[in-house]
Amino acid sequence: MADVETLSHSGISVHDLKEAEDFYCGILGAQVHGAVNFVTEDTLKGRSVHQSYTLGDFLFALVLAPDFMPMPPADKLMGVNGFRHAFAVRHADFDATIARLKAAGVPFKGPVGHPDKGPFGESVYFKDPSGNFLELLWRRDENVDYAKAPQLDVG
């Protein structure tokens, strides 16, 4: 047993909240969770402007950071810009997922197969519009009944 239950949430910096929301909700299927604010005066006063979302059991906040780290080169699709988040889909839906990225015009790298001895199957790598690296994969342990991430409703 690990001494950590789960990841509680992540904050992800983006250049433009609307653009990021369209991407995470429209393409990855995330849902708006607690609306915090989209108020411009807050940005002007230097307060963090963010909104939280859920993607399956994952809670994350998109945080507006206009002077964010530099964009990675356009042709670099797989990388780590501080962090990379990877989301699991079922093996049976992997092709449909790739088709969805193609249809949305999101450039991606892969699929890349992982070593048999590890828990991961195949991954595709891509970026959100602010240059945060993302990954979608299927996992060999997809039928293992792991403990569920507690629903916290916080972020």
């Binding site: 047993m1 690990a2 001494d3 950590v4 239950e5 789960t6 990841l7 509680s8 949430h9 992540s10 904050g11 910096s13 990855l28 299927g29 969770h33 607690g34 963010h50 939280s52 993607l55 399956g56 059991d57 994952f58 945080v63 950071a65 002077d67 964010f68 780290m69 780590v80 501080g82 962090f83 990379r84 990877a86 989301f87 699991a88 889909v89 079922r90 049976a92 969805r100 890349v112 197969g113 992982h114 070593p115 001895k117 590890g118 991961f120 690296f133 990954e135 994969l137 996992r139 342990d141 997809e142 792991y146 403990a147 569920k148 991430a149 507690p150 916290l152 409703d153 916080v154 972020g155």
Partner: protein, 285 residues
Amino acid sequence: MALNGAFSHLVVECADLEKSEAFYRDVIGLDVVGRNLVADNRPNSLLATNTRQRLLLVETGEVPPYPGSGGSIHHAWLLTIEQFKAARDRLEAAGFSSGIDPRQSFRAVGEYNMDIHDPDGNRFQIQAFGEEGTEILRSGAGTVMMGHMDDFAVGSVTHNRKGRFFLVREDEGFLAVSSWCTHKNGLTIWQKESWHFYCPFHGAKYDRKGCYVGHMGCQPMRLHPMQIDALGQVVVDTNRFFGRSGFEAAQAVPAEPGGKFDETGLTELPACDEKEVRERAKTGG
């Protein structure tokens, strides 16, 4: 796109795999699954939480410096209260100062947090939620005299900060609505412009009668018993709390001298002293 639980793993680059693996294993408390289990030709190590979620450390020659302006990029590990206490000891043993939560004022009561940076300067939160987050907190203000009933116009919401409640004047009469958010003991504020109570902690909203609006499934804000005395003075008893499943007209105290609170259909809830709980919360559970 059918997700499988959704979140699979977080990839973090590190300058020294040995060092980072030890940090995430011994200080954060993850389990090591193994080395080089993924398709990446750089040395990597996979670590596990108690759920499906994994952390993948990848060693690179050079980790770009932690972006100062992107200070909002962070991740939070969720621990039980017991794990949290153990983690605090581990952190201290490893030479991290864990006592101070730099943003304590932003936390709801009973929300515990430590901030920590990994060997490459990435910021993590370590979080736990104690039972103080759902305890019912008595402000200590006791019985509060609010003034004459005629001084409160229909539709008005009057905040009593010390007593931690709002006096709401509705068509049907008065409600003394406790200002504690029923989610995790944040303190709500009245947002006049949008006609709702708002909890800045995790964004809960309640309508003017204190009923939750949204999809977090929170209970309505609780009620304090109150009365209008023979002279028309509004008197609120902040020592007692009543839970309810929604609003009903009978919950409102009629705006007339002698107007009484009707407990029918409401559940009285045991409460503890806010001060005492805050003391307990300070020491991290």
